[in-house]
Amino acid sequence: MSTTVLEPRAGRTRDVLSSHVVRLLRMREIQLLVAIGIVVAVTTAAHPTFVAPGNISFMLADAAATAILAMGQTVVVLAKGIDLSVAPILGIAAVLVAFPAQDLNLPIVVGLAIVLGVGLVLGAANGVLVSIARIPPIIATLATLSVYGGLQFILAKGEEISNIPNSYAALGNDDIVSGVPWVLLIVVALAGAVTFFLRHTNTGRSIYAIGNDAAAAHRSGIPVQRVTFIAYTLCGVLAGIGGLIYLCHVGSVDSTTGTADNINLTSIAATLIGGTALTGGRGGVAGSVLGAIFLSVALTAMVFALIPAIWEPAGVGALMLLAMLFDRRSAVRSPSRTRRPRRAP
C-alpha cells in the first residue's frame, strides 16, 4: 500500500510515519534482531567461542521448545487471554511419549501423534473453561496449571525417564549444517504455519479482532466463544509439540519437567519481548520466536560472563520487565482512543 498517508484533518498527521526506514525500525522483529546482534557482538568481543558453530547451534536448539510454546502463548495473548498451563502440558506430552519411547522404541511419528492428542485435549479443556464457562483466563489456567501439574506427577510416577532412543536425541540436537540445528527448521516451519493461520484465515483474523475489542467483535458477528476456544486449543497443541521437542533436545523428562524449568514464564516473556501486547490484538509469532532466541542468547551470554546459573530466572524476569517498559515508551506516541463506549442503559 502507498505510504503517503495524508489526512485532511489536522493533528494526527505527525503520528503517521512516511519513511520506510523508520517504519522498519519500529517493527519489534527488527529491534530484536538488532538487540540479538548487540548481545552477540559484545559477548564475542570478550569470548570469541561464543560464535563457534557448536554454541550457536546449542543456543538455537535450546530456544526451540520455548519458541514453540511462545507461539501458542502468542495466539492466546492476541485474543486478550493468557495460558499459565503450557508448562505441564509440555510435561505431560513429554512423559507420555517418553515411557513408550524408552520401553518400546516408539517411532517419533507416533510420538508426534501422541503429543498432538495430549495438547488437543488439554488445550481444549482450557478453551472450554475460558470460552464456555467464562472463567477469567488467568484463573482458569492457573487452576489447570495445578491440575495438569499433578496429573504429570501421577503419570511420571515420580520417576525420571532418561533412556530415550537415539533417533529422538538426533532430532533434538543434530545440525543440518554446522550451526543450524534441525529443530530450528521445525520452529521456522511452525512459525510460518501459525503466521499464515493468523494472517490469512478467518479464524486468525477473528483472534485479532477479539483481542482488540471482544464486545465489538461480537457485534460484528464474530463467534467469540468458538474463536476463543480454538485459540486455547491451538495453544495446547503447540505446547504438546513443544513437549516432544523438549524431550528430543534434553533427552530426559521427570514429574516436574516444564514447570521446574520455569517455561510458563519464559513462554510469556518471549511473547511480550516479541512485541505482542498483553492487552491483546497486536503482535505476532515471528516476534515471539525471536524473543525466545533473544532470551536463549542473553542467558547463554550470562553463562559466558560467568554469572551463576541461579541468576537465570532473575535474568528472564528482568528482560521481561525491560520489554514492558520499552513497549510502553514506544506506545506513548500513538494517540489512544479518547472515547469509551458509553451510555450504559
Binding site: 503517503t4 478467518n202 483474523r205 475489542d213 465489538a216 500513538s334 450504559a344 442503559p345
Partner: protein
C-alpha cells in the same frame, strides 16, 4: 396524523396501519433491495427499570424512519433490540414475512440488518480496511482464505462512498472520531444490508461530513433499503426523514410522515410540554460576591485540547458545551488531575494547584462528578453510606486512628438528606437505587468535602425527566450557597436552563463564550457544531 399524544397499543396499531399504505411511493423502478422491518409492541427493562414500554415502529423499504426523543427516551435501546444486541422482554421483530426469534448480532447481519453505533467501536490496532470487513472478511472461494487483494481493492471504493480519504492501512486508532464514525457507516455498505439503523451517526461530524453522509443515505434510500435514523439535531431529522416517530420515557408518543408535523409539534411531543414552559432556573440576583474562585490558564494537552483559559466565579453556574469527542471531558479530567496536561496552570482560590492529583484537588475544594457514574463514581458492592463518605475517608472523625462509624453514619445521613436521596436505608446496596438517586448520592458524597468548585460532567445522562429537574435544582442550590459550578453537557437545552454563562469547546479549543440572555440553544448549537458563528 399528528398529536396522537397518549401512548398505548391502540395508537401504535393505527400508526402501523397508516404507514403500510405507502410502499415506497413508486420510486423504485429497479428491484428494491430492502424489506419491511417491523418491531411491534417491544418492551424492555434493565434491572427492573422499564426503558421501553410497548413500542412499535415500521421501517419501510426505500424510506428513512427517524426516532426522536430526549436522552433516555429509549431510542438507542430500540435500535439495539432491532439489531440483536439486546433481547426484548416482550414484543416481536418481523423482517419481510419472517419472524426473527432470538436475534443475535451475528444472525442480524446474516439477515442484512446493521446498526451503525452511537460511538465508533473499531478495532484499534487493525487497519482501516480490515475494520471495514471485520466479522465478514471476503475469502477466496476454494481455499477459504482471507482475500487480502480484494480487501485492498474494494475498501477504497467504500471509503470514497462515505467521503473518507484515508490510507486503508492506517490503524483505526490513528483515525479521528469523525473518520471512525464514517468508517462505521461504510461497514453497513460492505455487508450489503437491507436494513441499516443509524444511531446518532452525525454527532461527531462536521457539517460537510454530514452532507456527505446524507447523500449516502439518500442513495441507500433510492436503492430501496429500509433505514432507521436517530439524531438529536431536529433540522437533520426533518430534512432526511420520510417518517418520524417520537418516544418519550420509553413510550410511543407520535408518528407522522414527512410534512405531517411541524417542528414545534415534534419538540412538544419530545419533551412532553410546550416549549417555553420550562424556564431558566433563576437564582436570587442580589448576590454581589462574584469573586473569581478558579482560574485555568493556558491548559493544553495536544492534540486533545489546547489554549484552555477561563475563570469560574462564586455563585455562578458555567456551562461547557461541545460535541462528543470535542475534549470537554478531557479538559475537566485534566483540571481534576485525572489526566496529564502538557502545560497550563490551575489556580483555586488563590492557591496554585501544580502537580494535581484528585486527592489534592478535593482537599483544596474542587470536586468532579464524572460522566459515567457506573464506571467512574460508584462502588457498586458497597452500601450507600460508605459510598457517600468515600470522598473524605482521610478526614472522617476518628478515635485512636480508627474511624468512628457512628459519626460516619451521621455525616452520610446529613449529606443524603441535603440532596434528598430516596432510599430504604443507608446500609442498603447502592445498586438498589435508580440512576437519578445514584446521582444524588454521588453529589452528597462531594458535598461532604465542603467544596468551593464543583464540576459536573453530564449530570443528567441516563436520568429520567423528573429527576433531571431535581438535579438542576441541586446545582442551583449549590451555586446559591456560594459554589462555582461547571456543568458539562451535550444537552444544550439543559445548559440554557441552568447556566449563567456557557463556554463552547470545538475540537479542543474554546471557540466562544455566551453570557446571560444570549445563552440560547440556537446560539450554542451553531457554535458547538460549526466552531464559529
Amino acid at each position: 396524523m399528528v398529536g396522537l399524544v397518549g401512548p398505548g397499543p391502540d395508537t401504535t396499531a393505527t400508526t402501523t396501519a397508516t404507514t403500510t399504505e405507502d410502499p415506497g411511493d413508486g420510486r423504485d423502478a429497479r428491484q428494491p433491495r430492502g424489506s419491511r422491518y417491523v418491531a411491534s409492541h417491544v418492551t424492555k427493562a434493565f434491572n427492573g427499570a422499564e426503558v421501553l414500554h410497548d413500542v412499535s415502529i415500521v421501517l419501510e423499504p426505500g424510506s428513512v424512519h427517524s426516532l426522536l426523543g430526549e436522552n433516555g427516551a429509549g431510542k438507542s435501546t430500540l435500535f439495539k433490540i432491532m439489531s440483536g444486541l439486546y433481547e426484548p422482554d416482550a414484543g416481536e421483530l418481523v423482517l419481510g414475512d419472517e419472524r426473527l426469534h432470538g436475534l443475535t448480532p451475528r444472525s442480524a447481519l446474516q439477515q442484512g440488518i446493521y446498526l451503525v453505533p452511537q460511538e465508533p467501536t473499531l478495532m484499534a490496532h487493525l487497519s482501516a480496511a480490515e475494520n471495514l470487513y471485520v466479522g465478514a472478511l471476503p475469502r477466496h472461494g476454494r481455499t477459504r482464505l482471507v482475500d487480502w487483494k480484494r480487501i485492498g481493492r474494494e475498501s477504497v471504493s467504500y471509503f470514497t462512498r462515505v467521503g473518507l480519504d484515508i490510507d486503508i492501512e492506517t490503524p483505526a486508532r490513528n483515525l479521528s472520531i469523525a473518520q471512525q464514525q464514517l468508517l462505521e457507516c461504510a461497514r453497513a455498505l460492505v455487508h450489503n444490508c437491507q436494513v441499516i439503523l443509524f444511531d446518532e451517526p452525525t454527532s461527531p461530524l462536521t457539517p460537510h461530513e454530514v452532507d456527505v453522509l446524507f447523500e449516502l443515505v439518500d442513495g441507500l434510500r433510492s436503492d430501496g433499503l429500509a433505514l432507521g435514523f436517530i439524531s438529536h439535531r431536529l433540522d437533520e431529522v426533518i430534512s432526511i426523514s420520510d417518517q418520524v416517530t417520537v418516544l418519550r420515557d420509553g413510550r410511543f408518543v407520535m408518528n407522522a410522515p414527512r410534512g405531517g408535523y411541524t417542528r414545534d409539534e415534534l419538540v412538544t411531543a419530545m419533551i412532553g410540554r410546550p416549549i417555553g414552559v420550562r424556564t431558566r432556573v433563576r437564582r436570587s440576583s442580589d448576590v454581589t460576591d462574584r469573586r473569581e474562585i478558579l482560574r485555568v490558564e493556558d491548559l493544553a494537552a495536544p492534540p486533545t485540547f489546547t489554549d484552555i483559559s477561563f475563570t469560574l466565579r462564586k455563585h455562578e453556574v458555567t456551562g461547557l458545551a461541545g460535541l462528543v469527542g470535542s475534549g470537554r471531558t478531557e479538559i475537566a479530567e485534566a483540571i481534576f488531575g485525572l489526566r496529564k496536561a502538557d502545560r497550563g496552570k490551575v489556580v483555586l482560590d488563590g492557591v496554585p494547584l501544580t502537580h494535581r492529583t484528585p486527592r489534592e484537588c478535593i482537599d483544596a475544594g474542587l470536586i468532579y462528578l464524572p460522566e459515567d457514574r457506573a464506571r467512574n463514581g460508584i462502588f457498586g458492592e458497597v452500601d450507600i453510606g460508605r459510598n457517600v463518605t468515600a470522598g473524605i475517608i482521610p478526614h472522617l472523625p476518628r478515635r485512636w486512628h480508627l474511624i468512628r462509624t457512628d459519626r460516619e453514619t451521621l455525616l452520610a445521613a446529613g449529606a443524603t438528606a441535603r440532596t434528598a436521596v430516596h432510599m430504604q436505608a443507608l446500609g442498603s446496596s447502592i445498586n438498589t437505587l435508580s440512576g437519578g438517586n445514584q446521582q444524588r448520592a454521588m453529589i452528597s458524597r462531594w458535598l461532604l468535602a465542603e467544596p468551593k468548585v464543583a464540576i459536573f460532567d453530564e449530570p443528567t445522562r441516563g436520568v429520567d425527566v423528573g429527576a433531571k429537574d431535581d438535579i438542576y435544582d441541586i446545582v442551583a442550590d449549590l451555586a446559591t450557597s456560594g459554589l462555582a459550578c461547571l456543568v458539562i453537557s451535550s444537552d444544550l437545552e439543559e445548559l440554557t436552563l441552568i447556566c449563567d454563562r456557557v463556554l463552547v469547546i470545538y475540537e479542543g479549543r474554546i471557540v466562544g463564550e455566551v453570557e446571560g440572555d444570549d445563552v440560547t440553544t440556537a446560539r450554542l448549537g451553531q457554535l458547538v457544531v460549526e466552531g464559529a458563528m
